[in-house]
């Protein structure tokens, strides 16, 4: 993108991107730690995730403040305006994702009060695609990459499939032995949160889509766009 005549404006927009990238990195690390804490039955790690969540909340506030400032002082239009609006939406969505990571850490603490349970091994598999979605959606935002945003959007159906399959396993385990009901319930909640991470990442992809095209996201437009590019 060609530079603005006013340099400080470019710096502010860059700062907005930097903040969101940092939020994304922290959130991915939170997700990794939350899942790790379940597999390793590491209560300290889970508590760390819960307390670190505040950092991401604060970053969202900083994005809000900076975006508001840019709107008031620079009165952005066209692609600049769409970038600022997208930043507001995306930081909100990333913050939500971080909340899901903190939730997972809470279920981790509950699970650790119960005997160890082998179905926890399914979670690291289930989280893989949502993690890729977050990472790619944020790259799509930074690079204004429409193709990548659309790719991310389609990944969510994969998450849903894996989620349903995992639920089947948990139901089977509960039927096989009533003792499994307790840990399975915690895992159900954790899996649900992972599935929501996929949904939120899909929302980020939609915000990026709108930022680039200037049009509200509609699934029916996707087929057209997808085949065009």
């Amino acid at each position: 993108m060609i530079q603005h005549i006013v340099k400080a404006y470019d710096e502010e927009l860059k700062k907005l991107h930097d903040l969101i990238r940092y939020m994304g990195e922290l959130t991915l690390s939170q997700i990794n730690k939350a899942i790790q804490s379940i597999v390793d039955r590491d209560a300290e790690l889970a508590r760390e995730v819960i307390s670190e969540d505040q950092k991401i909340n604060l970053l969202e506030i900083r994005v809000d403040e900076l975006a508001t400032r840019i709107l008031a002082l620079r009165q952005p239009v066209a692609s600049d305006l769409r970038t600022v609006i997208a930043s507001l939406k995306i930081s909100n969505q990333v913050e939500r994702i971080a909340d899901y990571a903190a939730n997972i850490a809470k279920f981790s603490l509950n699970l650790q009060k119960l005997p160890s349970f082998e179905e926890v091994e399914g979670l690291p598999i289930l989280i893989e695609i949502p993690k890729q979605m977050i990472e790619s959606a944020l790259i799509a935002f930074e690079k204004a990459d429409l193709n990548l945003a659309i790719k991310v959007w389609h990944m969510d159906s994969e998450v849903d499939k894996l989620y349903k399959a995992y639920l089947q396993n948990l139901f089977a385990a509960m039927i096989a032995d009533p003792k499994n009901v307790n840990p399975c319930t915690q895992l159900l909640f954790a899996a649900k949160n992972i599935e929501r991470i996929g949904d939120q990442s899909q929302n980020i992809a939609e915000a990026v889509y709108t930022m680039i095209t200037g049009k509200p996201f509609q699934e029916s437009d996707l087929a057209k766009n997808g085949s065009k590019i």
């Binding site: 060609i2 530079q3 603005h4 005549i5 952005p76 239009v77 066209a78 305006l81």
Partner: protein
Amino acid sequence: MAFKIDVQNLNLFYGEKQALFNVSLGLPASQTTALIGPSGCGKSSFLRCLNRMNDVVPNLHLEGKVLLDGKDIYDPSVDVVDLRSHVGMVFQKPNPFPRSIYENVAYGPRIHRLFKDKSALDQIVEKSLTRAGLWDEVKDRLQQAATRLSGGQQQRLCIARAIAVNPKVILMDEPCSALDPIATAKIEELIDELREKFTLVIVTHNLQQAARISQKTAFFHSGYLVEAGETGELFTTPKDERTQGYITGRYG
């Protein structure tokens, strides 16, 4: 859509120098169209073609058509004085005549003989000043010299003068550039009210102003009309790189 003014393939030359290149632009009735673009791109030149203000410029040469309600204003049969009563103009600096407030507004109706008697003229003056949002401020001192009004009042007086002859179109060339934010807001509010009845064209360097008051925006660059469209769309999703660069404040 039926355009009040329809400009077709307009080329304008000042002697050897071409100032406008094949410009085609429709100005929708009862809308405000904003003309934007960097200094020297031809906005004022274009505006002046719409009521033949350019006629007096030596060595001026013009090709193409400017249709007002479907009739070419450059047709030899057109009476220019009559044309200007249909297409009025408001300039950058308020330029009231050095006469009374009353006489400034009465001037146009007088030369175009638009009234039967004195009381009809009084009515035109009152109605025009009211429409221009100035009546309450001046009704007790109509005989006072217009030059003693503030800049913003003078500009509203010039707008009253333009609408006194009941034109179809009003052209404004940077009408707020000499005004403070309050006076500007008053003119903007006025423009919004006037467009119900008139077709407005406004040249402005204030992009936020263009965005606020116009329904259609046309972006000029180096004598070319680069892009024109619905204002909301042009400011959120411009199609041309040059428009994007200009409105976002980037090097072009």
